[in-house]
Subunit: 242 residues, 2 copies
């Protein structure tokens, strides 16, 4: 990828210690010199435009990424050429972790809208983790969370339950980041939501209509408001986040 990566030393770079996402991201538990050590292995990228690629499946793994702003999706492609969105990544979340074992990216990472991220050389991160117990701890925690989340996506639910669960989880993640949990923008197109949840875009459309009719939410293109959170949670069966 020819994307320009600014060094952490460049003036435009907001260091981890100053970043508002510190409480969600890798720096959890770090301060003083430890924080500086981490900052020194983090590089900040210039923004990505809509649908711009960070890396492609099959590329040699070297870095993991943390979302700084906007949203990224990770997409795997099976041998038949069908693609599947494994996740949408919000600010403070990491992606690329699935490549550690295989040493090459198993998925492609793509920007949704205008988004930016931080890149961390994995080799350096692993070394630094030996020195900094808190960093190792947080890295393992974040990977564990990832395991748990992708496992809970596997449960057999109706389309209705899956979509409700998806919205609840998204709301919770926005809330965690200090945004409204009842009103937010659906950055990704319906097609992407459908793909991620293994359903047809038409089904997503019909379900949204039903949710609106049932007074669970209002929606205007990408502007979504959750009207009855309780009912939505009940419907989703607390599938993802309870």
């Amino acid at each position: 990828m020819s994307k320009q990566i600014a060094s952490s030393r460049s003036p435009s770079f907001l260091k981890c210690g100053q970043c508002s996402l510190g409480s969600l991201c890798l720096p959890v538990g770090l301060d003083g010199q430890d924080m500086v050590d981490l900052e020194n292995i983090v590089d900040s990228s210039s923004p990505f435009g809509n649908e711009e690629r960070v890396y492609n499946a099959g590329q040699t793994f070297d870095r993991i990424y943390a979302v700084k702003s906007g949203m990224f999706k990770t997409v795997i492609i099976d041998s038949l050429g069908n693609d599947h969105i494994t996740g949408f990544h919000l600010p403070g979340e990491l992606f690329g972790l699935d490549a550690i074992y295989s040493k090459k990216y198993m998925s492609s990472a793509v920007s949704l809208g205008t988004s930016s991220l931080c890149a961390i050389e994995y080799k350096e991160l692993e070394s630094l983790s030996h020195k900094l117990p808190s960093l190792q701890h947080q890295l393992l925690n974040l990977m564990s969370k990832e395991v748990q989340q992708s496992q809970s996506l596997n449960v057999d639910l109706t389309a209705e339950q899956k979509l409700a669960g998806f919205l609840i989880a998204l709301a919770a993640r926005y809330k965690q980041r200090g945004y409204s949990e009842t009103r937010f923008h659906l950055v990704m197109p319906r097609r992407d939501i459908a793909n991620h949840l293994n359903m047809a875009p038409e089904t997503v459309s019909r379900l949204f209509k039903r949710f609106v009719n049932d007074g669970l939410l209002t929606i205007n293109r990408t502007d979504l408001t959750i009207v009855d959170m309780t009912a939505l949670k009940e419907m989703g069966g607390c599938a993802s986040v309870c």
Copy 2:
């Protein structure tokens, strides 16, 4: 759990350095004193009987487990009471890793047939990982593998593709452990296979019949022989293991 756990110092315990699973399990990359250090935090359990529980969902997380012999399944239960088998674990594989983040087990672990395992206090494992770069490396690798695998289970496939993929992956894992990759025992009941793959037991039954009719495999209760691996792989679309 009242299960007896023998200390690694007890005579019956086969130490990691002598264990044939060392090349798959945590000890990868360790030797000398490092191996001894690991052995000292590993406890070996007495065998579990069929359907016996190792831990229950909701219990406080303290240990991760490595399968020594037999097979274990991990089961999550959603708020509606439906259970879902997140995985079957073969010798050398770890489970309980999804609990690191949440600090309590998200799933229950259950023995299939007579099986045994090793228990590792997670706190001690994390501490030891600071000291031993190779151990940290392997732990992160195994977690990454787990992420990748559960993600690839999420792709939208037909029942036929899912079952074929499941058998291929199982064959590959047996091969890795020095067993035949074409002939093995299906330790788990049809019901469990169906549950894991999100289908009805009847569908599994019908598909097995079709696979036999099409000359892909022969099956006698739990005794399965893959006759045409190539065709099976093609059918599975290399979904899990290529």
